[in-house]
């Protein structure tokens, strides 16, 4: 491994590429219209080289970031992207993840070159993309029911919006004005990325920039290899379960074997459940994202998050399983729920290899909640006919973080594959016919242990108008596991209160409820770590490593319930 680069330049280029991604994100957030993007920040931006390798990602949503290279690949394969073109796509089977996530890809040409020198891309979660249910996150048996499916098409051609494509999209969604604002902001973010990259090449020269792209990717790969070297060689297995798909009554297995030799690692999902009838199927891009996230977490936070990191990592996700679903499986929940469970499974396996660095399970769900209907406070639109202006609202609810070796888990926080913000009560109630009755921590829901799991959240939302409600949650039947003798976190719970009567709701369901009904969600706590009885553990050094020898499934006892 020769160090033929200038360490200073490397650091500078790392910062430059990263700031391009961050600037795109800042623009997207500022210009967007929906609370989902602006208040909750459910979006991501990244910069790619000509080969489609990630050079930098903004510090946005983990579930987006690992899977964006597939979007770029899909767009490039399907279309000839000329200067000033922007492709849009959301098809989970062609570069997307689930339908509400719309991704835009723009090529960046340098001074009349014939091929692009970079691509920039961003992805944003739209609060509605049509389909059978407001919010486009409901139960479905086929991807066709989940909303509008967009293969890579140009939404921006030679610097101008392609009006037919935009019109087609807007006609298929419940809140077109908001969607239009958000789509415009995504295009604006691409153009900002394009401009900044062009400036950079103008300043440093094409050759220099391309040289350091390579060094940056190599550097990331080297960092990952250095980390892998410190994990003992061996095969580490883990398994965990999703509660179910909301249709069939049985739980769904995710299994992984991590085979680590020297500076290479293979992550094999053989043994995971076949793809299911409901919507918790993950496409391969999601599984890839989850693997990327887990290995990224083992590295220092400062390491540049480029594609180079994944060079030493091979992923095997058998086609036709819930970790690599094939069409026409429904996939809305794969992105938000299955992705979390894949992470839980991977960490469980890695806990056998490096127990002093791995946390117990976090809440393992995003508790997706959607509301849709007509808002009686606003005048009806011409076409909607009745009751007021249509609205669609989507949110995810935080929960408990798993205990860490040496630290309690945090309470009421988003973990692993998401980091979206909540909508302030004072924004939510102003914008939608909803009222928040209670928003607080669910005390005592974190798993006990030497280190405690974080507590989940209780959130109660009252409908002020009749509405369609969707819940897509997990960890209602299987609890987030504890590790090394720590207790599991409390399972989550969904309830509907109508006229003072409480009714238990399924983990995944959708229904119509009258004004006055209250949806109450209790989110899971994080798992505990270390048994209470045991003497204080050391979070560093070999002592703790010896306590769990590979094969002794200390933690599996807590997870079955």
């Amino acid at each position: 491994m020769t160090q033929s680069f200038d360490p200073t330049r490397l650091e500078i280029f790392k910062n430059l590429f990263h700031s391009v991604a961050e600037e795109m994100g800042a623009a997207l957030r500022r210009v967007a219209f929906s609370p989902n993007i602006k208040e909750r920040r459910d979006y991501s931006c990244a910069v790619f080289n000509a080969a489609g390798d990630v050079l930098a990602m903004g510090d946005h949503m983990p579930v987006h970031l690992g899977s964006m290279p597939m979007s770029v690949q899909a767009a490039v394969q399907a279309l000839r992207l000329d200067p000033g073109d922007v492709a849009v796509l959301n098809d989970p089977y062609e570069g997307g993840t689930h339908l509400p996530d719309l991704t835009m890809v723009m090529p960046v040409y340098f001074r009349g070159a014939r091929a692009p020198m970079f691509y920039v891309a961003n992805r944003a979660h739209h609060a509605d993309i049509g389909g059978s249910q407001a919010g486009s996150m409901g139960l479905a048996r086929e991807v066709f029911q989940e909303g509008l499916r967009i293969p890579p098409v140009k939404i921006f051609r030679k610097g101008r919006v392609v009006k037919d494509v935009l019109a087609l999209i807007l006609r298929n969604v419940r809140t077109p004005r908001e969607r239009e604002g958000d789509l415009t902001s995504q295009i604006a973010a691409c153009r900002i990325g394009e401009r900044r990259l062009a400036e950079m090449v103008g300043k440093y020269g094409r050759r220099e920039v391309e040289t350091y792209e390579r060094h940056l990717l190599d550097y990331s790969a080297r960092t990952m290899r250095a980390m892998l070297r410190k994990i003992p060689d061996g095969t580490y297995r883990g398994e965990d379960f999703l509660d179910g798909d909301g249709i069939e009554p049985h739980r769904l297995r995710i299994a992984v074997a991590i085979r680590k030799r020297g500076t290479r690692v293979e992550v094999d999902f053989t043994g995971s459940a076949p793809q299911c009838a409901g919507s918790v199927n993950a496409v391969e891009a999601i599984t890839w994202s989850a693997v990327f996230y887990v290995f990224r977490c083992l590295l220092d936070e400062q390491v540049p998050a480029t594609s180079g990191l994944m060079r030493p990592v091979r992923v095997n996700a058998p086609a036709g399983t819930i970790v690599n679903a094939r069409p026409p499986a429904a996939v809305a929940g794969g992105n938000v729920e299955t992705s979390q469970r894949i992470v839980d499974t991977l960490f469980r396996a890695l806990a056998r290899a490096v127990p002093d660095r791995i946390p117990a399970a976090s809440q393992g769900t995003m508790n997706n909640l959607t509301f849709g209907g007509a808002d009686p406070r606003h005048a009806p639109r011409l076409r909607s006919g009745q009751g007021g202006a249509p609205f669609a609202y989507y949110e995810t609810i935080a929960g408990g973080m798993g205990a860490r070796p040496g630290l309690d888990g945090l309470s009421g926080i988003h973990t692993h594959m998401t980091n979206s913000l909540n909508s302030p009560v004072e924004v939510l109630e102003h914008a939608y016919p909803l009222r928040v009755r209670r928003y607080g921590l669910r005390r005592g829901s974190g798993g006990r242990g030497r280190w405690r799991g974080g507590d989940g959240v209780v959130r109660e939302i009252e409908l002020l108008a009749d509405a369609q409600v969707g819940l897509l949650c997990d960890r209602r039947a299987t609890a987030p596991y504890g590790l090394s003798g720590g207790a599991p976190g409390a399972k989550g719970k969904n309830e509907l209160v109508v006229n003072g009567k409480r009714k238990r709701l399924a983990a995944k369901c959708s229904f119509y409820a009258p004004a006055g009904a209250v949806v109450r969600v209790e989110t899971p706590g994080g798992g505990g770590l270390g048994s209470l009885a045991r003497a204080p553990m050391l979070s560093t050094g070999g002592l703790w490593v010896k306590k769990i020898s590979p094969g002794r499934r200390l933690e599996s006892r807590q997870s079955r319930n």
Partner: protein
């Protein structure tokens, strides 16, 4: 590190007091501004028509001690009336070190945990061991009140007298140092908060109420801001009382002392108001720097500037365009502070930042700092290379040292230890250059955040470089950002104190109204009512500061957005403000949509009472030749080659002098590096203006 010595310089003469503008400004009083920094406490004051500077060592354990010493030093010859304005870091430090008071919080029942959950996101994505700050109020001290107001201000659940009484009884048992009250939608209807606060105050508690501190929507940010205010109140009132007593003692028995405090919004208020609303003083020190930078830039004829204040451990940058910009989205010590503060971006890179190689071979600089103790290698005790050591090795800080020779630098030691630490770098010089390049990259990124990321092109701006290390980096940073002009003010080390001395009394008031406006004319009546409402509150406060309404200037602003958007742009509330909003949106984000409905979210008013301001005098123009200021030339490493470089003594440079890079300008509290390709001139106010093509 430094001996406790006072260093004094006269910097100008012929100061004429401005017209008396306020009842409380005593024309006979001596005016002083004091800026407390990490290393030095800087004082700028006017005596006998002359502006003077005094620097004393800071006393971080109790910053008031340094102020006491400074006052004693300044007034040892004669007592007399005093008018003291302080920039303080007491608030920031109390937050950073969690040394505030014991606070209890009253919230709407069911929302006691809002302050703990925050926005439910973690600060770092891939850090499994991430932590977040403990809430300033522990769970047992957050009390829910049975009450509820709707989004439109209607009362859903009235706050019963029995409920307020119950909460007061709880508080009597808890005995908190201060109480914060924040109910949902109190900006739309503050009745419940008012009743609760009244009952608590009657029982003798110090109360911070959310609709008084910040009547704006977003409950977490409002609650956090109100709680911070309550948290700082005991610390700040103690500190200010101490300063007031030192000032009174310095003024003597027969004279009066008035103490004012710099706020984060760039204006000053009386110590009494600052004790009540300490959350408004959190960025007090850096705010003074911005005012100072703006002032010297105006003298030099530049409206559009980026201020670059680089100290030992951190660097503050801000963009100014005629007006100073404020933001309501600041984060201090990981906590949101939503009152208006000057839009200042801080990064952890300064002269004392440590350099090291990480495992994969990349060179990193900061955010860890050698601080004042042990300090950089060249100060004699540090072991790890810092940015300052890099400058010394490259010859950019001549070994004659800092503070006019009062402080010697050990170049040989820096070279020896850096040789050991240089890893695979070719030479010590290459290593030193690398450290500077990485530090510059960090600062370049900081400037991009406040400019490019917000839609401003740095090329249209002049970089005002100050602070101990600002002028060493200014030109190279400007080159990287393609900026063509750098201004190094006359006294880079005391610019913040000068800014504070020139600050006006400012009161910001605001209210969330959320009003749909189609055309400006239609909404004018309703808005006028809302403005009158908030302004009457502001004018009351200004009277307390000694300004009758006719002496107060009022600026009206509106936070506006397209209906459905979730963030706002602030525009002046005059004329066709709807059109102004479309234009501002176009400029900031590249597009506008005149067909889309617009709403006014917040009304804001800024009330300003002008204070008398010292002006820097113009100097007589000398010739272009700077020969008189030349000292012994020295070799300086420039672009990997050692070149004999002109060294100028700033104290002997005269207005009208011109010189060309490469050059180094040394002065008492700072050093300026002028690279090849840059030319310098000294303007009539003795600012150095450095330019390149």
């Amino acid at each position: 590190m430094f001996a406790h010595n006072a260093l004094r310089r006269r910097i100008c003469q012929d100061w004429q007091p401005a017209i008396q503008s306020s009842l409380l400004y005593n024309p006979a009083a001596m005016r002083l501004a004091i800026d407390t920094g990490g290393t030095f406490t800087d004082c700028v004051f006017v005596r006998d028509g002359q502006l003077e500077i005094l620097k004393v060592s800071s006393t971080p354990q109790n910053p008031a001690l340094a102020i006491r010493d400074a006052l004693a030093e300044i007034l040892k010859e004669a007592n007399g009336s005093l008018d003291v304005t302080c920039g303080t870091t007491v608030g920031t430090n109390a937050l950073l070190e969690r040394r505030g008071g014991r606070v209890a919080l009253v919230t709407t029942a069911g929302f006691e945990d809002v302050i703990e959950i925050g926005r439910q996101a973690r600060p770092r994505l891939y850090d499994l061991f991430v932590t977040r700050p403990e809430p300033l109020v522990p769970r047992e001290w957050r009390i829910g009140a049975e009450e509820r107001v709707a989004a439109d201000g209607k009362t859903l659940v009235p706050l019963a007298p029995g409920e307020t009484a119950r909460i007061v009884r709880r508080m009597v048992r808890l005995r908190p140092g201060a109480v914060a009250v924040c109910f949902l939608f109190s900006y739309a209807n503050p009745e419940h908060e008012r009743a609760m606060a009244r009952a608590l105050r009657r029982a003798g508690f110090v109360v911070s109420v959310s609709h008084e501190i910040l009547p704006e929507f977003r409950e977490f940010e409002r609650t956090a801001t109100t709680v911070i205010n309550a948290y700082l109140a005991p610390v700040m009132s103690r500190y200010l009382a101490e300063i007031e007593s030192h000032a009174a003692r310095a003024a003597g028995k027969r004279a009066k002392a008035q103490v004012r405090i710099m706020q984060s919004n760039g204006g000053i208020v009386s110590a009494r108001v600052a004790s009540r609303e300490p959350v408004r003083t959190i960025l007090s020190g850096p705010a003074g720097g911005i005012l100072g930078a703006q002032y010297v830039a105006q003298l030099a004829g530049f409206e559009q500037i980026i201020s670059f204040d680089m100290g030992g451990t951190s660097t503050d940058v801000a963009l100014l365009e005629g007006e100073r910009r404020t933001t309501n989205e600041s984060i201090v010590a990981d906590l949101p502070v939503a009152v208006p503060m000057l839009d200042i971006h801080t990064v952890g890179a300064g002269g004392g930042s440590l350099a090291r190689f990480d495992r994969a071979g990349a060179l990193r600089v900061g955010p860890e700092s050698a601080g004042a103790d042990p300090g950089p290698i060249c100060y004699g005790r540090g072991e790890q290379p810092t940015v300052t050591d890099a400058h010394v090795v490259l010859g950019r800080i001549p070994p004659g040292g800092l503070l006019g020779g009062a402080f010697q630098l050990d170049e040989a030691r820096a070279r020896r230890l850096m040789e050991k630490a240089r890893g695979k770098m070719r030479s010590v010089e290459a290593f030193a250059q690398g450290i500077l390049d990485v530090a510059n990259a960090t600062m370049e990124k900081a400037i991009r955040v406040i400019s490019v990321e917000r839609g401003y092109d740095p090329r249209d701006y002049t970089l005002v470089a100050f602070g101990g290390a600002g002028a060493l980096h200014g030109c190279e940073l400007a080159t990287a950002l393609r900026m063509s002009r750098v201004l190094v003010p006359k006294f880079p080390g005391a610019l913040s104190a000068l800014g504070i001395l020139r600050a006006d009394v400012v009161k910001d008031v605001s209210l969330t109204v959320r009003l749909a406006v189609e055309r400006a004319a239609d909404a004018t009546r309703e808005l006028r009512k809302q403005f009158a409402h908030i302004e009457s509150r502001g004018l009351r406060e200004m009277r307390g500061e000694g300004f009758s309404p006719r002496l107060v200037r009022i600026e009206r602003m509106l936070d506006m957005r397209y209906v459905g958007q979730a963030y706002e742009l602030t525009v002046a509330a005059e004329g066709d403000f709807v059109g102004a909003f479309h234009r501002a949106h176009e400029r900031r984000y590249g597009y506008a949509d005149p067909g889309r409905a617009v709403e006014a979210v917040n009304v804001r008013a800024r009330l300003t009472g002008a204070t008398p301001k010292p002006e820097l005098p113009k100097s007589r123009r000398a010739g272009a030749n700077p020969r008189a200021a030349l000292v012994e030339p020295r070799p300086v490493m420039i672009a990997r080659r050692r070149a004999r470089t002109a060294i100028y003594d700033r104290a002997r440079l005269r207005a009208g002098n011109r010189f060309a890079g490469p050059a180094v300008v040394v002065e008492y509290s700072a050093t300026t590096f002028v690279p090849p390709g840059w030319r310098g001139r000294v303007d009539a106010y003795e600012n150095m203006i450095l330019e390149t093509k």
